[in-house]
Amino acid sequence: MAEAQIARELPLAGRAAGGASVSITPAEPAMRVSLRAPQESIAAVSKGLGIDLPTRPKQSAVAGARSVLWLGPDEWLVIEEGDRDPMADLARATALHSAVDVSHRNTAILVTGTQVADVLNAGCPQDLSLEAFPVGACSRTVMGKIEVVLFRTAEDAFRVECWRSFSDYAFEFLRDAARGL
């Protein structure tokens, strides 16, 4: 039997936008897990994942190529940019939790540059100043007509996680916003 040829194509492959003060590019492929766990399981799940789950609003935790973003009191988004499968790690945690692989549901856009907050604020009504949204802060929020997860990876860099089918809208929205600077 011929071996199946599977090539994964990112929805935003090859696109780029921005100008002098901001650059908008699709992120590399990553594994993502939607994780839910009650208070009692947090210690065990953290151990399995190799990162302490953040427990304060907007807080994130990063270890190597893996990030865990607080989305709600019992909900996290795990992003793995390396090749250690977070689902396999979570499977070792026996405490009650729910982990759903959403790697193919989400895609991400990296927005960097000095005016990054201005570009995002074109569609996101949250306060993205460094006081309210410091480096490492993350939040599920809205951008234009869609829901996104924002993750500030540096003072001038954000990762915008959005659903794959909305990614064209998200990218063009950011392109338009950057044009208006």
């Binding site: 609003p57 907007k58 989305l71 709600g72 009191p73 909900e75 009504p125 949250q126 309210a132 939040s139 599920r140 929020t141 809205v142 829901e147």
Partner: protein
């Protein structure tokens, strides 16, 4: 844009992240199979819809995803206070005071 205080996120967030979810503090009857159709209708469909201070459920849909309760003035659309789901109805006088504290915090007069 209104800013609504989410008791789970612990901060004020833009109203676009929230959804209204009807009247709060409606307890499901314990003996739901035994009550009359009329009683069921009152539990299920009938709402007070008061003019003035109302107790409502809201959901931080595009944020932490949690349902919580809010005290809102339906005339001025002002949120007097918000509190976690399951907590008892706050005293409205207290709520008004708390709102003043929130307001002063908002102005940086901590």
């Amino acid at each position: 844009m209104l800013l609504i205080h989410c008791p789970y996120c612990g901060e004020e967030r833009p109203e676009l992240e929230f959804r209204h979810a009807g009247e709060a503090h409606i307890a499901r009857p314990e003996n739901i199979a035994e009550i009359s159709d009329e009683d069921f209708a009152h539990y299920f469909f009938y709402r007070d819809n008061p003019k003035g201070v109302t107790f409502e459920r809201w959901r931080h849909m595009h944020g932490c995803g949690r349902f919580f309760n809010a005290v809102r003035d339906s005339v001025s659309d002002k949120f007097l206070t918000t509190y976690k789901a399951g907590e008892p109805k706050p005293d409205i006088a207290d709520a008004a005071n708390e709102n003043q504290i929130n307001t002063s915090k908002g102005q940086g007069a901590k």
